[in-house]
Symmetry: C2
């Protein structure tokens, strides 16, 4: 017997590793001191301009969006999603990315599949200035179906301690919603159940209100708000950010509010995109369940002092970023919808 | 329809999160500035004693050792394995741990299962002085069987740039082998195939040569070499370390040798533990395949200049750490067995 008979193909793993190495190299900046393939990734941070640098780290997956990727045979976008999601998570604390690592586990080591996924990771790493310094690619027959896989990402960034968010959130602060690009990376188990299992739609079905197929709409890449928000954070114009991920509005807004404060969100203050309405109708999902599962078209909520609202809206507009005034911070806990 | 009908239980996730929060708090040190549950973990590094701090990061999983954990109904040790593996990976670069994050994906969100796994993670985090500052726990019905899960870890450490390993490896350097505690976290697909599928053993079968059941022997926790080696690294007595993980001897020793240098390993210079001999016999696995799949009883190889060998052996002995002189660095690439 050998390892291959046990379902683990070391030659395929070596081939995949070479492709990852090449892709990762395209993300490197002068801080990276190691090649992919060493036991640890070496990154020399430049903290010269920081008084008290704080490292901010986060990990996330892309959930069952991978099952939509499999249906569509498109595997690079979930790689992009992974990085964009993690970048947003540390942006919420005010941090800029330093470096990224990924974990990819597959039922069968397919170098083409690995390359597709990782090419999405590295495309996003380049876009966000966040080198891919390491990763793990594991063949796990038995845990994953032959054609299936899972993907997790890890990011490290930095923030000046005095500029870390949230900070200074008060009752009366405005909530600005920034549009999402789709479901981002949450709610896919419910969306698939409603659209495919219950309503009997096919992934390839093109619907006029979506302007594309259901599968393509579901695969729309997770949007990062780094470019839109980093200048405003640097200038101290933002009090808090809430990344609307798993748990939706009630699960994420309270995470960045001080004890005793809550939020009022006016549901009619932005237009919920057609994909969410389609899922809601297909699954007969109550409003409350929609808002605690999905981002409903709002990928990031920006908490702004009333006096800074005009400047923030104007700055976003100049960058071509739409925003909606969707509510405000109020006394008393929790999220209330109007 | 709601999220629960789609197989995702937000209440169970909340319950699991509370238990993780409590466990993680027990790992915190003064560097940790955030609670579990924020979007990113905040860690303020103390680099006052460093001239040029380099961040060293690594990610890994525990592979199909999880399938043995399921057979035995024991889920804390794989959590411990995860941290010990990652600590060893950055130790190879000369780094000490700063903080850790974990990713746990399950077919069904079972708070007891989550708590068991994470309790192993946090026990190891405490032992290695490496706070758990964040993580993700994802319920992914369909990707994982109801009772199945996968686990990935992510570590960040620091090394003074001038003390990063490997450094100065030369032909004639000695290779010291440090004993492993078992299979650590590699080769489980082959081991399970050989022992269970081919030889028909049961996990609960107690064998005299193992002194315990096959399942318990397979689950023996991954050993970390941090305590044994950090002082020697600090004093500049080690030129390189090779963590013997996936790929075994030929896959890992060359990763830390300069181009043009290789290694000669004398197979008879240490006693291969009974578990490896049992797997080899059960699966009729050739010697070469054993050495490129398993650690064969040597979990870490220490590359030492001949002049430092006595001091290193003596230091390890004083700490109660056995070591074997298993070979040397030679001109010419690859790993040759004698």
């Amino acid at each position: 017997m050998d390892y291959r008979e046990a379902g683990v193909d070391i030659s395929a793993a070596d081939a995949a590793k070479q492709r990852i190495k090449r892709l990762a190299r395209g993300t490197f900046n002068p801080g990276v001191l190691s090649e992919i393939g060493s036991f640890g990734g070496l990154f020399r941070p430049d903290f010269a301009s920081y008084q008290e640098p704080v490292l901010v780290s986060s990990t996330d997956g892309v959930g069952t969006k991978i099952q939509v990727a499999r249906l569509m045979g498109v595997h690079d976008t979930v790689g992009y999603d992974l990085v964009a999601h993690c970048v947003n998570d540390i942006l919420v604390q005010g941090a800029s990315p330093l470096f990224f690592l990924d974990y990819l586990a597959l039922g069968r080591m397919d170098p083409d599949r690995v390359e597709a996924v990782v090419s999405g990771v590295t495309r996003a790493c380049q876009e966000f200035g966040c080198p891919l310094v390491g990763g793990e690619t594991a063949e796990m027959p038995g845990t994953y179906a032959d054609d299936d896989y899972d993907l997790a990402g890890f990011i490290v960034g930095v923030v000046e301690r005095g500029k870390a968010l949230p900070a200074g959130v008060s009752a009366g602060d405005a909530l600005l919603g920034l549009p999402s690009a789709g479901l981002h990376t949450n709610g896919y188990s419910l969306a698939r159940q409603a659209l495919f299992a219950k309503a009997g739609h096919q992934a390839a079905t093109v619907l006029p209100e979506l302007g594309t197929s259901i599968g393509a709409a579901l695969l729309a890449p997770h949007k990062s708000y780094l470019a839109a928000l980093e200048g405003l954070i640097e200038r101290g114009r933002i009090r808090a950010l809430a990344h609307i991920t798993g748990g939706g509005f009630p699960g994420n807004i309270p995470r960045v509010l001080p004890d005793g404060l809550g939020a009022v969100v006016r549901r009619g203050s932005w237009e919920v995109p057609p994909l969410f309405r389609l899922i809601q109708a297909a699954g007969e999902v109550p409003d409350d369940e929609m808002f605690r599962t999905f981002n409903m078209g709002v990928g990031m909520i920006v908490v702004v002092a009333p006096g800074d609202l005009h400047e923030v809206e104007h700055s976003l507009e100049r960058r071509g970023e739409p925003s909606f005034l969707i509510g405000s911070v109020v006394e008393g806990p929790g999220v209330t919808f109007e």
